[in-house]
């Protein structure tokens, strides 16, 4: 089933960008056609991961109605010959563009929502993509809510931090539920002690499910190696045998069935 996925969180730095990028890469390794988009216009990130600086067109331009989406998308497929394809849409990281995006009015945001909604027919119906993944800004940003409204499912990344858990719960009742979104929780940066055995992992997941009252699609340990990669490369591509990669494969499977 073709899907638009919004990766969101209440607080910043929970792992949205890392997880959306690695989830996209995992889908691609499984032969899927994926479009990964940076909708974090306040703090663009994907341009750094995919090492692009001076582009003619950014997602900003698509939302501004300056160009169509095909002008923005860049092929970032790491050729592994299984038919998978990765295209990325990047947010303009220049200070000027960030300033411009934060000064938009409601009228503009309404048009931007229309542009995001139009991606479904352009990319999923006509363009043969299997997934569109939106990486978003944390909290109640306009661009993030637009992404959530346009998406089929929301993946909420949260740590075990009390404020993060509390914020995610609030967003569930005050945002995702109001738009009747299918929502799944990804608990990231879990202390490995909590996940030592299969038994403990199960107990932990159950506890999280009760707290969030939503399906827990992944419990991802905190790995120093992931931190050390420092966003310089796509971890699951470089380290196919690492447990982080295994966790993401499991997540990809769950998202596909979700």
């Amino acid at each position: 089933m073709k899907k638009i996925i919004a990766v969101h969180s209440y607080k910043g730095g929970t792992g949205k960008t890392s997880l959306s990028t690695n989830l996209a890469a995992t889908f691609v390794r499984n032969g899927k056609k994926v479009c990964l988009m940076d909708l974090d216009f306040r703090a663009p990130s994907l341009h750094a991961i995919f090492k692009k600086q001076n582009l003619d067109y950014w997602l900003n331009d698509y939302l501004n109605g300056v160009c169509e989406i095909n002008k923005v998308l860049i092929d970032a497929t790491n050729n592994n010959g299984n038919g998978g394809k990765l295209l990325v849409g990047l947010a303009n990281p220049s200070t000027e563009a960030i300033r411009d995006m934060t000064a938009k009015d409601r009228k503009w945001e309404m048009k931007a929502l229309g542009r995001l909604l139009a991606l479904r027919s352009a990319l999923l119906n006509d363009g043969n993509f299997d997934y569109i993944i939106f990486d978003t800004s944390p909290g109640l940003q306009y661009s993030s809510i637009n992404a959530i409204v346009a998406a089929d499912i929301v993946l909420v990344v949260t740590s075990l931090d009390a404020s993060d858990i509390n914020g995610s719960q609030r967003m569930t009742s005050e945002l995702y539920d109001l738009f009747e979104k299918k929502t799944g929780i990804l608990i990231n940066k879990v202390i490995v002690d909590y996940l030592k055995s299969k038994e403990e992992q199960k107990k932990f997941t159950k506890k999280m499910k009760d707290i969030h009252n939503l399906p827990i699609l992944a419990t991802i340990p905190c790995f120093c190696e992931v931190l050390r990669a420092a966003g310089n490369f796509i971890f699951t591509e470089e380290r196919p045998d690492h447990p982080f990669t295994e966790t993401l494969e499991d997540l990809a499977e769950k998202v596909e069935k979700f």
Binding site: R106, K107, E109, M110, K111, L113, G114, L117, Y142, I145, N146, V149, E174, L175, L178, F179, E180
Partner: protein
């Protein structure tokens, strides 16, 4: 014979016109019923000009569902919206007309069909 045909054609036209008027009347009644049922107090005092996500969030649940569906369809009849929301056509027609009254949507007739859409341009 020709004269008879002419009269027949004329009366069909008149019947069509009556039917059209009845449908429009029906929609107006729908709006009035909706407004009465949910009360004017649900209408925001200063209508914000845009149907953006913050406005969507502020709408009562039943109207939000209709508004989001129309945003996705871009331009649609009450029939098409009710197909998506799985609510009765008459109910959707009422909600859509209420959203038009609130200034969030526009309505346009094409022949016998009424189309609703979000005006993103003006």
């Amino acid at each position: 014979m020709a004269a008879y045909r002419k009269i027949e054609g004329k009366s069909t036209q008149i019947l069509e016109k009556i039917r059209e008027n009845l449908e429009q009347l029906n929609e107006k009644i729908d709006v009035m019923i909706e407004i009465q049922k949910h009360g004017q107090r649900e209408l925001p005092e200063n209508l914000p000009e845009a149907l953006d996500v913050m406005t969507l969030l502020s709408l009562p649940d039943h109207l939000r569902k209709t508004a989001v569906t129309l945003c996705k369809l871009e331009k649609a009849t009450a029939d098409e919206v009710s197909e998506q929301t799985k609510r009765a056509r008459a109910v959707e027609s009422g909600y859509l007309n209420q959203l038009v009254v609130m200034g969030y949507m526009k309505k346009e007739r094409e022949g016998r069909k009424a189309y609703f859409y979000v005006d993103r341009e003006t």
